[in-house]
Amino acid sequence: MGLHAYLMLAAVLFVIGFFGVVTRRNTVGILLGIELMLNAVNINLVAFARFNADIVGMIFTSFTIPITVAEVALGLAIVILIFRMKRTVIADHLDILKG
């Protein structure tokens, strides 16, 4: 399998994630979508590293995975805090930044 297959996989994953981010009404769902998008990027990085024989991509990915974990933890914590305050996690109801 060539590089293209990986890139296609990553692109599909990214689009699925993006679709989730923009369509899900539940904030947790949006977070999941973000995760998918991040992992699509990770796949890209690993694939390029593999096919270009460049270790940097691998190293970079090994940084992003823990950071993604931290980000999910933080994101979920924020969602829980928002739920405590607002009693909802529906994104459409969270519009206090409205101008």
């Binding site: 993006f18 981010v21 923009v22 369509t23 949006i30 994104a91 459409d92 969270l94 519009d95 206090i96 930044l97 409205k98 101008g99």
Partner: protein, 615 residues
């Protein structure tokens, strides 16, 4: 000390230091009496110095001291100093003398004032003496203008001395505005003249005029502008309206500023610079005609006044018209001579009137009557002043007025001569109208009640009156035996004519107001329309009021509206539009995260398209 300028400078600096001391040392000023003492003392010193300067100033010669005032690259632009010559020394003595006498007189006249108030009065008096002497001794137009404005300021301050009275506050402002409006002309004239000749200095200008190097083109405009300033200060038509109102000030102030000295500044200025005006005969014509017209107009107005001070005020306007007419006819010395004698006897008349007002407590002549018996001294000096003003021989005004009549005729102005001659008749008439009603008529009921108040003035007030009365008679007698040679051919018939006219006026007044052979009511009926118009002051005051209220304030209101609602309105319109646009744009911020993600995605897409667009 052989230098008149040195003494003149001393005379100038004494009141200046008195003013500075009184202005700065507050306790002294607020004490009142002490302030008055200091001011009078300095005024006396100033008088002595002025007389010394006069004695030292030789005929035709002059001494000048100058200091740089405004520096410039090529030597000082403006200098200040003193220029002492025969004319200025004479005028200096007049100013110092009347100023001193008035200050003494005020000690009695204003004895009821509180300390701070009296201190304020003497502070202003000192400032006035200084400014007026500075004007008299001015070596150039710049200093003249400076002092010109300062005496205007003193006039404003002293007219408004009793500032809690609305009339006084209003009259002060009116006087300032009208003279200031005329001073716009003077300032323009001075600036234009400076541009034309490159100097403010009288002596330089005189030399240029003598050698004929002053460019004549446009000189008429310049001299006319200067004349405008002079006519404002010297209350010539149509600027005369401020002077009668200025009578709201204390009477000694009227005597000093609004009769003897400040109002004559315009005449003095023209006398000083007559060589300049001679270059522009057209302007001289205007001066002569307007002077004669003013003299007649004011004389008519004086005939219908019932306020003793207003009669005197209009007579001052009228006499200033005489002086101006003489200058316009080309014989400045005649005008200047009348200025000096008028200064003496008009101050006497005002101070006499002040003594009467002080005693009776009213200005209305019909509230007085029969005062000759109760205050004989005052009556005598007042009559001396009246005879002088009417131009009766052996009194101060006779010779100088006749001189003016001769000058105007010799200058080739038969029209103004006629007006002035008729004015002389009216002068005698209205002055003796006052004398007969005030001093000889039956006592009015009003002052019967508080009869005991009415008595001759205190020594402080009486002494200046007698000094001035003696001077009036003395000068008149002196002129009767020895008088300066006129610059023009004297006409033999003029003297008898003038005397007859004056006596006719007196006789007429006697018939109407003393013998009542002619009823005053009949007289009023005969001159009905003129009398009615004169009572409305020929609507000249109304015209000024209209210019102020109807034109200036309305224009200001319009401009104020334009500024607030158009100029600023456009600005507010712009900012309101900005705010509205912001309101619209704000709606784009939904606050929902997913909308922003759409936005970002769209942006990325557009960027990609833009980058990839085939070019």
């Amino acid at each position: 000390m052989t230098d008149p300028a040195r003494l003149a400078l001393l005379a100038l600096l004494l009141p200046a230091s008195s003013f500075i001391i009184l202005a700065v040392v507050t306790p002294l000023r607020r004490h009142g009496r002490a302030a008055a003492g200091l001011s009078v003392l300095f005024a006396a010193g100033s008088l002595v110095a002025a007389i010394g300067a006069l004695r030292l100033s030789t005929d035709g010669g002059f001494t000048e001291w100058l200091w740089a005032w405004i520096p410039a690259e090529a030597g000082p632009l403006v200098t200040i100093g003193v220029l002492a010559d025969g004319d200025s020394a004479l005028m200096l003595v007049l100013v110092a003398l009347v100023s001193f006498l008035v200050q003494v007189y005020s000690l009695g006249y204003l004895s009821d004032e509180t300390g701070p108030s009296l201190g304020r009065y003497y502070t202003y008096q000192s400032l006035f003496a200084f400014s007026m002497m500075g004007l008299v001794l001015a070596p150039n137009f710049a200093q003249l203008f400076i002092c010109w404005e300062l005496v205007g300021l003193c006039s404003y301050l002293l007219i408004g001395y009793w500032y809690t009275r609305p009339e006084a506050a209003r009259a002060a402002v009116k006087a300032f505005w009208i003279t200031k409006a005329a001073d716009v002309g003077l300032l323009i004239g001075i600036v234009l003249l400076w541009r034309q000749t490159g100097t403010f200095d009288f002596l330089d200008l005189l030399q240029m005029a003598d050698t004929g190097v002053i460019p004549l083109a446009g000189l008429g405009v310049i001299t006319f502008c200067i004349y405008l300033g002079a006519s404002g200060k010297s209350a010539q038509f149509p600027f005369h309206v401020w002077l009668p109102d200025a009578m709201e000030g204390p009477t000694p102030v009227s005597a000093l500023i609004h009769a003897a000295t400040m109002v004559t500044a315009g005449v003095y200025l023209l006398t000083r610079t007559v060589w300049l005006f001679r270059l522009t005969p057209d302007v001289m014509q205007i001066i002569a005609w307007n002077g004669a017209f003013t003299a007649l107009l004011a004389a008519v107005l004086a005939c219908v006044q019932t306020d003793i001070k207003r009669v005197l005020a209009y007579s001052t306007v009228s006499q200033l018209g005489y002086m101006m007419a003489a200058i316009g006819a080309g014989f400045a010395s005649a005008g200047f001579l009348h200025l000096l004698t008028h200064g003496i006897f008009k101050a006497l008349l005002f101070l006499g009137a002040g003594a009467v007002i002080h005693a009776v407590g009213t200005n209305d002549i019909f509230q007085m009557g029969g005062l000759a018996r109760r205050m004989p001294q005052t009556a005598i000096v007042f009559i001396v002043g009246t005879l002088s003003l009417a131009g009766v021989p052996l009194f101060a005004g006779f010779f100088s007025k006749e001189e003016i009549l001769g000058a105007v005729l010799a200058g080739g102005f038969p029209g103004p001569f006629g007006m002035l001659l008729f004015g002389a008749f009216l002068t005698a008439f209205y002055m003796f109208r006052v004398v007969f009603i005030t001093f000889f008529g039956t006592p009015a009921a009003a002052h019967h009640a508080h009869d005991h108040h009415v008595h001759d003035a205190s020594p402080f007030m009486a002494a200046p009156l007698w000094i001035l009365a003696l001077l009036s008679v003395g000068i008149g007698t002196l002129f009767a035996f020895w008088h300066p040679r006129a610059e023009f051919e004297e006409l033999g018939w003029l003297t008898p004519t003038a005397v007859v006219v004056a006596l006719a006026g007196i006789a007429f007044a006697y018939l109407v107001y003393q013998r009542r052979a002619i009823s005053a009511d009949t007289l009023a009926a005969v001159f009905g329309p003129i009398r009615a118009a004169a009572l409305r002051r020929f609507w000249i005051d109304d015209i000024f009021a209209f210019i102020y209220r109807g034109l200036m304030l309305q224009l200001a209101r319009l401009v104020g509206w334009v500024d607030r609602y158009l100029v600023d309105g456009i600005l507010n319109l712009l900012s309101a539009w900005t705010l509205m646009a912001g309101d619209r744009l704000r709606r784009m911020q939904s606050g929902r995260g997913q909308d922003y993600v759409y936005g970002i995605a769209l942006g990325v897409l557009l960027l990609l398209v833009w980058i990839r667009w085939p070019r």
